[in-house]
Symmetry: C2
Subunit: 277 residues, 2 copies
């Protein structure tokens, strides 16, 4: 298999370079990428050191490494750009058009993108994460007044990771409530959820996949049996439908896709960036 | 204050477009950006509808909206590029250079960047999130064998959000352990942590900030008093130093910066993308 080394370099955390680089690399199949992140390249010496490392890699491997960069400081970016790699700086490509359009110069300040620049939005994300952990798995329903969304689903249908992602990425207050066998037997919406109908969103999953997930946790259990899984999922979906609760099948979707879909559909106001669509 | 409308548009979740756009916009101060994300623009009709919406905004506001785009499908991107906005497509700018360097065509497949393309890495992230929640706040130490990192700190020093971020973003198994007053009194490393010295990482925080955070939670309490907070933080830092546990002051850093620093310093192998530096 074809192998290539990829560097993510930045005078900040490198998170933007990684996120953007990963998105691009997913478009190339059949290549094994060895990925190296070097964050906090904050002075000329550090930049020169990384250039040497990239050049050595090029020499040893016989290919130019791919270098994804997000340098805010122009002098450091210029040093990096002199490396013997395929150098792509994300800021460089777009800051120019933005400056012309906005008719102002960018600040060239580090630590903005993943720093605490927007303190209100940052605090909201932290609060949302603490909220998600404190309101996980139906431990309490008394904070649902403060919730932006309450996810419903049977055990292991993906509620917890989705709530954490909504909190961390969007600053959304997300609680989750596991539908128990008793509640599914009764078929009516649990009493404690009645007042929050407009905040509810259901998760479901293919029976085969749920059997597999539960089986890894409790092999050969009733909990992981085809019969039990089938009953729970049918009852949950019937509950969603008869109460007009929107729901999504999580089997083939990532938490990013699920979260994005929920926000889009429920038109939830985001805590991180102003308004959703 | 100057106001501009920004659209994030994509035939996928729009998360990459948002990440790129947010990073760039932080470099322009004094402008209020109204941000609108339109994900899942998956056909010609939807694309045309969004173009009309952008054009209407341009007409009403008298400025071209800024449009950050990540279209994998060329035909849809071309429709979007015809809008009356400052159009910046991220894939368009970088896929070409990458194709030339890698000597292969990109797949132009949607749902890769934030989908479940790399199933192993995805599963690891989900497992890491469940691990973080199950091992939050020292509820148990019996899973520390499986932990990549165990964060230490006094109450409200930022342990939980940092663990969740390490899990969600990097697929790192992160537990956290709150240092109690009893343990801080004794000054020695708690017995249950002795076997995991090479996984420990300490958090600390400025006393003023911690007083503020605790005060919001329990006003006028001993817990939030200057004396108590001062004692706890001095004792925690002394414990880190006498046990050679690396630690970081979280006061002015975001969880992204803290996480990035911990990975960099502890040289933790990342679950999401191969290897850290």
């Amino acid at each position: 298999m074809n192998r290539r080394t990829v560097f993510f370099v930045s005078d900040q955390t490198g998170i933007t370079a990684e996120t953007l680089g990963h998105s691009l690399l997913t478009q190339f199949e059949g290549i094994k990428f060895k990925q190296i992140t070097v964050p906090f390249i904050s002075d000329v010496d550090k930049a020169s050191e990384v250039v040497q490392r990239i050049n050595l890699t090029a020499q040893v491997e016989g290919y130019k490494p791919i270098v994804f960069s997000t340098f805010v400081q122009n002098d450091l970016r210029e040093i990096m750009a002199g490396c013997n790699g395929v150098f792509m700086d994300f800021f460089d490509a777009f800051i120019g058009p933005l400056e012309r359009s906005l008719e102002m110069k960018s600040t060239h300040t580090t630590g903005k993108a993943h720093g605490r620049a927007d303190s209100e939005a940052y605090t909201r994300r932290i609060d949302a994460m603490n909220f998600a952990v404190a309101n996980d798995d139906g431990v309490t329903t008394r904070n649902y007044d403060r919730a932006d969304i309450v996810l419903l689903g049977v055990s292991r249908s993906g509620k917890t990771p989705t709530c954490l992602y909504l909190a961390l990425h969007y600053g959304i207050f997300a609680a989750n409530y596991p539908l128990t066998e008793d509640e599914l037997d009764k078929r009516s919406l649990p009493a404690s959820l009645q007042d929050y109908r407009n905040k509810l969103y259901g998760l479901t999953i293919e029976p085969d996949r749920l059997q597999q997930i539960r089986g890894e946790r409790k092999p050969d259990s009733r909990y992981a049996s085809a019969q039990q899984v089938g009953f729970e999922l049918r009852a949950a979906e019937a509950m969603y439908q008869s109460n007009a609760i929107p729901y999504i099948n999580t089997t083939k979707s990532s938490i990013e896709e699920i979260a994005s879909q929920i926000i889009h559909e429920r038109r939830i106001k985001r805590g991180n960036s102003g308004h959703g669509d």
